[in-house]
Subunit: 424 residues, 2 copies
């Protein structure tokens, strides 16, 4: 993992104001980015008849044709595109292919090229004339640790892997008796357990929040912690019951979720939480356990928490409104259940919202966030939250300005959500 | 990361005796493997004129043409190929492309498709009729942990990342005062710091060695630890001095190493070791510090250790003979310095081998290993070791039967080398 350490001098001629993207493999010159978020893509395919750039919502809404030169090199400049991380790929004569110049990231259920667009804040400088890092960049302060842990799941009949973030100081001798609250944090459709660290930068966001590192250039305050030190656990949403027992065990209350995630709640409750509480110094009670996720992951967070209020006290939903909502099939967003009903607080999640007082007491933090540029989803989310509020349910609603169904929205969501956790 | 949990019933018709490779992305049916190591590759490229399979030494020595069906699907069955991990890619009309059905791994200086071929031992069963896992598979016993740690390098002028394995029990309260020896383990040319965990399975190999888990089917002994609990640190060989100081600081004794690795020894000695000793419970002396690597990484291990005998007492070289040896340019192995001189113990590494008694006292473990199928490299290695022995240098030489310049060789090397460490 690399970072933008410097961008080019803007007094140079325009064509020299680019640097290779930090998501490129070493020595790869393309794609190149401008400080303003424009990107030059380039790939050599001399025999191809047509080449298009494809990508996630924040990069391009539809495939964009590339232009061939006399050497068979296809290129394209787009943007400015949104700050942050975007998936992309090329389509050459109908075949999807990744950019050999880019690292790959697991998304869309496959390995996919990705590009990190520099944060404009980076171009600012602080009083010492140093460029300012983003809230999702490392700042050189105390670091938490990312660990991976494998376990054999009896529920899915397979080995499974979770990634675990422990906060700065967790391994210090002085904290040997300290116990920590835990956030269970889910990825969205098509991603896996690596997404929150690789695409999402979860560890840097938490390090900066816990360490009180400010992203604001004036001054570089490092003194006011903005989030409680916490453990964050990331598992894979893809969790189906093992074949022999799938008919009997499929969770009926999750029947509107994809079958491939049908066992996820059971894995979390019966296997993952015990594993984490056994192996880490956790505060193992509901007041110190939260669950959140992106998209499908937010549905899984809600369905798991609402069936187990004895385990969770806080729920976060990032870009999570696509279920329970009718939408044109041509919507530029992600897959939805084709005939999903309108969200109805009276029936959703087995009627959990009917007793608002009880719900509010059980879940003092029920948090929603989405980007303003994911227009349909955002509109649906605002309607959903309005209905919940009309039913007396207390919610927080956050809007990430100018971002779409993309990682920058979810980095922002985490940065807003985490400081509210475990304040009781 | 997934594992072969079961292979198909060999009493089935041949065409049904395959399973998707565990290195495939979820739901991808191809490539598929047979228990005997044959592989079926398949990719849909309707408009391509020609498609070849390319891969690492253990998979195919030269590109193999694939065959198109009427639907534009290209396929190929090869093998049996060597057990273990292999890089591969497709070449369609001159363009290198990865398999959309495969995970990617950083190798050859880019993201590359990879395939894990099942270990034939897996088809064996133990007395309870359970399939037997390999020495590089998880066995369900106590696990070490993989962590990543970022740091700002003054030497390279960039953020750098190391991955750190801590052994089973490291975080147990009972071991809060226990200190551990450290192995610094390098990847080879074109890989990065993730290679030893993703392709090499370093954590499973160490877990099994430390836990005394036997790969032998009869019996599944778990009682005799075969290696000392140790910390393993993996960094990126790619480490050039930052531009401003490169002329003055380039390490002259490493002048036959690629410039892109010229600062690696300095990073290890001046930044990495202090970082690790500060942040982990290490035994911070030469008797409890070893360094090993693959290929270029083995040269870096030697050059770093021999200049710093006050820091290291053991050195391991895996497939490491390509420098200092003339070889036909057409050799099917990796890049060599074109006019590399014959290995001469009298002059190599500044003459460190001239005082054999002193060398042997300083480096009681000087270990070499390679695969018998990497013919030229292996021959060169045996000649090199013979010269060292003739000069009175004590060495261990290990031969991995039937494996080439590939990860299975290096997994075997680590499995043989690690038990010899830190025995004093």
């Amino acid at each position: 993992m690399r970072f933008y350490d410097e961008l080019v001098d803007e007094s140079l001629p325009a064509e020299r104001q680019t640097v290779p993207a930090i998501t490129n493999v070493p020595q790869a010159e393309y794609p190149r980015v401008y400080a303003d978020g424009r990107v030059i893509f380039r790939i050599r395919l001399p025999l191809a008849k047509s080449v298009y750039l494809g990508g996630g919502q924040g990069l391009c809404q539809a495939p964009v044709p590339m232009k061939r030169d006399s050497q068979g090199v296809w290129s394209l400049t787009i943007g400015p595109v949104t700050t942050g991380f975007h998936y992309y790929w090329f389509n050459a004569d109908g075949a999807m292919l990744n950019d050999p110049g880019s690292e790959t990231f697991f998304g869309n259920n496959r390995e996919t090229s990705g590009i990190e667009i520099p944060d404009p804040i980076f171009i600012s400088t602080d009083l010492t004339n140093e460029p300012v890092a983003s809230f999702y960049d490392p700042h050189g302060g105390p670091q938490g640790q990312m660990q991976e842990r494998l376990y054999q799941s009896a529920i899915t009949g397979s080995w499974r892997r979770c990634l675990v973030y422990t906060p700065p100081g967790y391994s210090d001798e002085a904290n040997a008796k300290t116990r920590y609250p835990v956030l269970y944090l889910q990825h969205g459709i098509g991603d896996d357990e690596t997404a929150w660290s690789r695409q999402g930068r979860v560890h840097f966001i938490l390090d900066n929040l816990i360490g009180g590192v400010s992203s604001s250039p004036f001054p570089m305050g490092r003194s006011v912690p903005r989030a409680k030190p916490m453990i964050v656990v990331m598992e894979n949403n893809s969790a189906a019951y093992k074949a022999a027992t799938s008919a009997g065990n499929h969770d009926p209350s999750a029947s509107d979720l994809p079958r491939t995630s049908g066992a996820f709640g059971a894995v979390v409750v019966d296997e993952l939480i015990p594993l984490i509480d056994r192996n880490f110094r956790t505060l193992a009670d509901r007041d110190h356990r939260a669950i959140a996720g992106i998209s499908l992951g937010s549905e899984l967070a809600m369905s798991t928490a609402f069936r187990h209020p004895e385990l969770f006290s806080a729920v976060g939903c990032f870009s999570g409104a696509q279920y329970y909502l009718p939408r044109p099939r041509s919507a530029p967003s992600q897959a939805a259940a084709p005939d999903a009903p309108l969200f109805d607080p009276a029936t959703a999640f087995g009627g959990v919202f009917n007793d608002a007082a009880s719900f509010n007491a059980r879940f003092p933090l029920f948090w929603f966030g989405a980007g303003t540029a994911e227009v349909l989803l955002n509109q649906a989310l605002r309607e959903k939250v309005a209905k919940l509020r009309a039913a007396g349910i207390k919610t927080v609603l956050y809007q990430s300005a100018g971002t779409a169904y993309e990682w920058q929205t979810w980095r922002q969501c985490l940065n807003q959500f985490a400081p509210l956790l475990f304040q009781a």
